[in-house]
Symmetry: C3
Subunit: 109 residues, 3 copies
């Protein structure tokens, strides 16, 4: 079994849960936020057989769209503020950031 951890935008999260469930995937959603933009996003936990990982990844890829976010420069950490940018800064946020880990045991108790 593998654990797919996928960080996706809040806008895509309900549709992603439905698209995964329809194909028989079990999913758990955690409320989360990005460390950089500090705005809300959703972290999925998806435990699945190894031979279904590719299918889950293609559902995530098809469902989650990249977006552009405008953010006030003073809200950005570190050196951004130092340039005293007057204009908002445009930041690209990808469709999904995905980590795959190995599960040693999967149990329903």
């Amino acid at each position: 079994m593998k654990l797919i951890i996928a960080v996706v935008s809040d806008e895509d999260s309900n549709l992603l849960a439905d698209n995964l469930n329809r194909e028989g995937f079990g999913t758990t959603k955690l409320c989360s936020s990005g460390g950089f933009l500090k705005s809300g996003n959703t972290t999925f936990l998806i435990a699945t057989e190894e031979d279904k990982v590719e299918q889950a990844l293609s559902i995530i890829k098809d469902t989650c769209k990249g977006r552009r976010r405008m953010i006030a420069p003073e809200k950005l950490p570190g050196s951004f503020g130092a340039f005293n940018l007057a204009m908002p800064v445009e930041v690209n946020v990808g469709g999904a950031t995905v980590f795959i880990l190995n599960i040693e045991q999967f149990l329903k108790l």
Copy 2:
């Protein structure tokens, strides 16, 4: 060390934290929700020595009870809605869904 990730119902979560703590287990609770029923549940992170995994699993098994949930058919993803079911659908939710992963390093900083 092993990381036990256990998804349990909200009703069992406080009792489970107390039963685990009483036996000296460290635990962290994440607020979560099920992808299918979209209702709240609780995800536990429990890092423990490999030789205490069996004890943690038996505490989880004894504390977390399976439940039946009634859900309006139009709230279910995928083909359920298509049959235009008038009656609510009964869904069994298990006591706990558990994944066990290997921890390479455990640190208190």
Copy 3:
């Protein structure tokens, strides 16, 4: 790639996100709570190259401070309540509790 999971106090979490981002680390924050004190804390997910793990750990160590928490005895699980302690109990909470797991695949979809 490695996944660093770090449980830190809420007070340190924004500063930690900024200190990690400034050094180019990606981070996701999950709202969480401790199983013992039942008060809020923050769980970070930080996926990083293996050769940058030490740097991330030293940023966590420098940013997150240990604290003492006073807690009413009847709120503590297990045998604490049985001694009918009148005085609040002092509990030390460390700066950060950290687990490091192996990531088999890291993807931006």
